[in-house]
């Protein structure tokens, strides 16, 4: 019961924040609405017992990426952009594309709905380890190579963004 109520509350945050993100005029308001949406997603992670990713979502997304967004919004001048038209003219194409994507996902959900109850019948015993320990075990054994590649990717991103944002190296 409490799970259902929490799900509805977080889903309201997620969808309300998302809707505000794509409709509000001022870019700062959009960023704040996106933060609300990301916090709702973090709450849903906690509801699904993903404690580690809950913390990462808060620290990395809300604390890192959205802060970066707000800094960039502060650096560029958006007063003029807020007064212009917000939506482009090809709205027929856009509505068609969104409807096709929604119909596609809905169709696959409907086709695959028999597969949704796999795990409910065959529950593996809950591990004695916590969520973070499980992730660490898996990350540093099975997924070690992707982890190292991810660190390389972050290095490339850091160097690349400094090169692009700087006037003269």
């Amino acid at each position: 019961m409490i799970d259902t109520v929490l799900f509805y509350a977080f889903a309201l945050l997620v969808l309300g924040g998302g809707l505000a993100t794509i409709t509000l005029r001022n870019a700062v308001h959009c960023a704040i609405a996106l933060i609300v949406s990301l916090l709702g997603v973090a709450g849903l992670y906690l509801l699904q017992q993903a404690e580690f990713l809950f913390a990462v979502q808060i620290v990395l997304y809300v604390g890192g990426i959205m802060l970066l967004f707000l800094f960039v919004i502060m650096l560029v001048n958006l007063d003029q952009a807020a007064r212009e038209r917000q939506f482009n003219r090809q709205w027929v194409v856009a509505v068609t594309a969104v409807a096709v994507v929604a119909a596609e996902i809905g169709y696959f959900l409907w086709r695959g709905k028999a597969a949704f109850h796999i795990a409910e019948n065959a529950l593996s015993p809950a591990s004695a380890l916590g969520n973070t320990e499980q992730i660490a075990d898996s990350l540093f054994s099975e997924y070690l190579l992707p982890f190292e590649i991810a660190s390389l990717l972050l290095l490339v991103a850091v160097v690349g963004s400094v090169v692009m944002a700087k006037k003269r190296i």
Binding site: I22, Q48, F69, A165
Partner: protein
């Protein structure tokens, strides 16, 4: 065991993804377009977590972790590109930034 069925999470994820697609296609401000991409990434992460929870498998969490790492890298590079475009063009309207088309 949570009482919330998996399909609710998947429907929520699909709705969030459709919102991201709509924002990506409708908006003219490049920063808001970028935010719509983050919305889509979060929708995918949400369904990863829902499946990981249902299957009692931690691999889904790792995929979400890697998606977040890539999203961070993408945000850093993308925002640097936005800053450079604004410095050179003094506009963030995606309809005005079309020199590769001409």
């Amino acid at each position: 065991m949570s009482q919330v069925p998996l399909s609710w999470f998947l429907v929520l994820s699909a709705l969030l993804f459709a919102l991201g697609v709509a924002g990506f296609l409708f908006r003219r401000n490049i920063i808001t377009v970028f935010m719509s991409i983050e919305l889509m990434l979060n929708a995918v992460n949400l369904s990863f977590i829902a499946f990981a929870y249902q299957h009692k498998d931690v691999s889904g969490h790792l995929f979400v972790f890697f998606v977040m790492v890539v999203a961070a890298a993408e945000a850093a590079v993308g925002l640097a590109i936005i800053l450079t475009v604004f410095k050179n063009r003094a506009t963030l309207n995606i309809d005005d930034i079309s020199s590769m088309k001409d």
